[in-house]
Amino acid sequence: MKRSLSYSIAALLLVLISCDYKPRNQGRVLYEKECQSCHMENGQGLGKLIPPVAKSDYVVNHREGIACLIRNGIEGEMMVNGQLYTGKMAGNSQLTEIEINNLVHYILVDLNDQKDPYQISEVRAQLERCKQ
């Protein structure tokens, strides 16, 4: 009986997990884990508090700066889609180069319709420049 109970719990868990299971790429998973709480589920941001990372002219124009922005954070005035933001975003020292690569790729390609894949050589060169 005990055994059948544990089997049934396992079966139930399996059902629940498989209902929720959707294949996702790492960039998206990282975005949801590290960034979504502030930049929101579709990257739309929040009012004048947090700038959008989807359809963001800042992202598109700062392809060579985003890896460093994620690593070291950013604060002070910035213009995004014509709106002034004066917030503060903390850096993230935990993400590996590959994770940053996949994250930025997701933001550029999925959230900003860019065509060129983001490459690990770009990430490495960038992070080398902004090492603190």
Partner: protein, 220 residues
């Protein structure tokens, strides 16, 4: 033998799923519970222990909002209100909570009977000026949504009174650990629901419950 266990476990799990699903359905038409605050009084009647639960109202309080107005329990007279605890430099769940509360704020824009009280648990950094700046960037008015600060101890004891977890914690991101709960309080200052303010689904439920309270109270 294996086969049998399999069928047994399958049927047990189907049963479990059935129970869960039924639980969901029931909640659609349920009346809202009374959740407190309450007092428990033990009395001895004829030598028997008698435990009485009396529902009381949310206790008086006094805080200052983003425009420097004093906000007290009188502010909530005749209002249904939604309340939470946050801080402006919170790096984790607060933006999500504010996004969801903003949704409710906009949904009930035309209803003066619904107001919002957000307590900052970071009185050191969240001055009135800073709350003002935050409110402006969020695009909200202190007529209907008060971002409040006050004496540190008053804020934390109020969180306790509302049964919401909030504390200073050097190890937590931003220096504070707190729950993302939204509380629904009715016109007689009774707590009628607790929701996860970071979950769009739960906030949808909250929206329905606010409407339900307004409808119920509209009837004599």
């Amino acid at each position: 033998m294996k086969q049998r266990i399999y069928w047994k476990s399958l049927s047990v799990s189907l049963l479990l799923i059935g129970f869960l699903a039924e639980g969901c359905e029931e909640s659609a038409s349920r009346p809202l519970p009374l959740l407190g605050p309450y007092e428990v009084n033990d009395t001895i009647i004829d030598g028997m222990l008698n435990t009485d639960t009396t529902f009381t109202a949310v206790r008086p309080f006094s805080f200052t909002d983003q425009d420097g107005n004093e906000v007290t329990e009188v502010t909530t007279n005749g209002k249904v209100y939604i309340t939470d605890f946050f801080f402006t430099s919170c790096p984790t769940i607060c933006p999500k909570m504010k996004q969801q509360m903003l949704r409710l704020y906009n949904d009930f824009e035309d209803n003066d009977d619904v107001i919002f009280l957000s307590h900052s648990i970071d009185p050191k950094r969240d001055s009135v000026a800073r709350l003002h700046d935050y409110a402006e960037k969020l695009g909200i008015s202190s007529e209907r949504w008060h971002l409040m600060t006050g004496e540190r101890d008053d804020i934390y004891s109020m969180a306790k009174h509302y049964m919401i977890a909030a504390q200073e914690d050097k190890l937590a991101p931003g220096g504070y650990a707190h729950s993302g709960a939204f509380l629904l309080v009715d016109k007689s200052k009774q707590i009628r629901g607790i929701y996860d303010g970071t979950s769009a689904e739960e906030v949808d439920q909250l929206k329905e419950d606010i409407q339900k309270l307004l409808n119920d109270e509209a009837q004599p």
